[in-house]
């Protein structure tokens, strides 16, 4: 295991509602390769082996959250229209009326922010196996939300991922910076933290599961 700096190069804007976690991305690749269904909130999690070192207590992997700077944002919308024309054309005669203002057929237009990042880059620091990480990242071509509609596409014709060895900045590498600030959600008792905000977060994947959240030190 080596100290690593991992850089993703985006081709376009990205939709981020929460920081991107490298361990979560790698765990997703492992599950995608094995075609595992994601667990329901609160379900027991089957262990997922990823090439990033676990902290001595085994609670989380030693990697920072994605570091980036938003340069500009634009407002976009996600639309859903009930296929009522097709209900009339292809549906059974049992379909008498369709309420498109409420219920299962409710149409929507949900706004979201699409961000352009400085230099189109996201950077992570971690302690891990570079070859294992490179192998898994080869299957990651999109990042963030709304990937199915092309948001967060990486520079697939250039160098989408760069995994390189780097110098450490002290004992806190890669989860606490040189000033003692958290570089990811950390348990409050984590050594070396000087002053950090506190918030309810997960310290390991699945990060979307709100039922597992606990009070953490956050960047």
């Amino acid at each position: 295991m080596k100290p690593l700096r991992i850089t993703a190069k985006l081709a376009e804007g990205i939709v981020l509602r929460a920081p991107l976690m490298l361990d979560g991305i790698l765990a997703w690749v492992v599950c995608a390769r094995e075609r595992r269904l994601s667990p329901l909130p609160g379900d027991a999690i089957e262990p997922v082996d990823i090439p990033i070192e676990l902290e001595p207590g085994g609670r989380f992997h030693l990697c920072s959250q994605g570091l980036h700077e938003v340069e500009a944002s634009s407002l976009r919308y996600k639309n859903r229209r009930a296929p009522w024309v097709e209900y009339a054309r292809f549906g059974t005669s049992k379909i008498k009326r369709v309420d498109i203002a409420a219920g299962a057929n409710k149409s929507y237009r949900v706004p979201y922010s699409l961000d352009l990042l400085r230099d189109d880059r996201i950077v992570w620091y971690c302690i891990g196996d570079p070859d294992g990480i490179r192998d898994l990242l080869r299957d990651v071509h999109y990042l963030g939300r709304h990937r199915g509609a092309g948001k967060g596409r990486l520079d697939l014709h250039g160098q989408p991922w760069r995994v390189e060895e780097c110098e450490t900045w002290g004992d806190g590498f890669p989860v606490v910076d040189a000033n003692g600030k958290a570089m990811r959600a950390l348990p409050l008792d984590w050594p070396g933290l000087v002053e950090s905000r506190q918030s309810f977060r997960n310290v390991t994947f699945p990060y979307w599961d709100k039922t597992r959240e606990a009070l953490c030190a956050v960047p």
Partner: protein, 330 residues
């Protein structure tokens, strides 16, 4: 697991009307913020990935129903239609549109494009395995973001890149008021005719006297409006990518792409000669472990595209019909 990516250049065989908002009577074409080399930012017209993705979803739906012989008398249930055309809905148990996970798996086995596009079961969303990029206008502002093979194709075919400003035009249309046509007025009943003529007289005298309120009351229903559109002949590039786990899934992806390309329409105003795109050139990128290869493809993608999938659908058409008509609503 295999990841296959198609990238293709398409030409606007008709003007494209894909609007993001209306300002008064003017419809504004969708634009996205693009960062130019050096840091400057511009708004560039584009066709959203959601639109292209829905075109793919519709193509898979119609193509499969056609192969299963269900288009003549479909009689599909509401839940099935919603699942296949809009991804379904997380509704919870007890609702008519509940699909439980085993049934979802069975439906995916019968209709593999569902696995690619994703959908909802009773209490969870099953993510798709497909990424569909925006339709990106080929213009000087997008040069640095276009795939190298696209730029090489443009150069070898003598296509010049110009600013996106030249690719948008504004056109005006007018919805006419039939009451302004004397031959149409003659068809009215006596009472209606008297109303129309009375309104015309009010408008005329209001015009003479400068009475704005009366002029508004006597105004015709004629409605001029303008809209922006991408000009006919413009070139765009799109990317479609899918993660597949079997030959059948891969073939169903190729089948859906081929169906979409055979009658590719995006945006609105399709009833008035807008939205048709035609395939010009394409590349297939195979992302295999440790390598990626690029090969040229035609509109048919490969000689036997869809054969496996079509045979699969024909062999299970009765099961598919029974699921789509009743099995999902339980």
């Amino acid at each position: 697991m295999e990841t296959t990516r198609f990238e293709m250049i398409v030409r606007a065989a008709q003007p494209i009307a894909h609007h993001q908002e209306n300002l008064g009577n003017q419809a504004i074409f969708a634009r996205k913020l693009v960062r130019l080399p050096g840091g400057e930012r511009v708004n560039v017209p584009y066709v959203s990935g959601d639109t292209v993705r829905h075109a793919l979803r519709e193509a898979a739906f119609y193509g499969t129903l056609h192969e299963a012989g269900l288009l003549n008398d479909p009689q599909l249930s509401e839940g099935a239609l919603r699942l296949l055309l809009a991804g379904g809905m997380v509704t919870g148990k007890g609702d008519a549109s509940v699909v439980n996970i085993d049934r979802y798996r069975e439906l995916v086995a019968l209709f593999p494009p569902l696995a690619l596009l994703g959908g909802c079961t009773d209490n969870r969303v099953i993510p798709g395995q497909m990424h569909v990029d925006d339709g990106n206008l080929l213009c000087s502002e997008m040069r640095h973001l276009s795939p190298p093979w696209v730029m090489a194709w443009l150069e070898s075919n003598g296509e010049r890149l110009e600013s996106c400003r030249g690719a948008i035009e504004e056109v005006q249309r007018v919805r006419m008021d039939p009451m302004l046509r004397p031959e149409a007025v003659k068809l009215l009943s006596d009472g209606a005719k008297a109303n129309v003529e009375g309104r015309a007289l009010v408008a005329e005298s209001a015009h003479d006297t400068g009475d704005a309120v009366a002029a508004k009351e006597g105004k015709s229903a004629m409605m001029p409006r303008t809209h922006e559109r991408i000009i006919q002949g413009s070139l765009l590039w799109i990317g479609l990518e899918a993660r597949t786990y079997s030959d059948l899934e891969h073939d169903s992806f190729c089948f859906a792409v081929a169906c979409m390309l055979s009658n590719f329409h995006v945006g609105g105003k399709r009833g008035t000669g807008h939205g048709k795109l035609e395939f010009v050139a394409g590349s297939r990128v195979h992302f295999m472990p440790a390598s990626a290869s690029l090969e040229s493809v035609g509109r048919e993608l490969a000689p036997k595209t869809g054969d496996l999938y079509k045979a699969h659908v024909r062999a299970r058409k009765d099961d598919l019909a029974s699921w789509l008509r009743s099995g999902i609503n339980s």
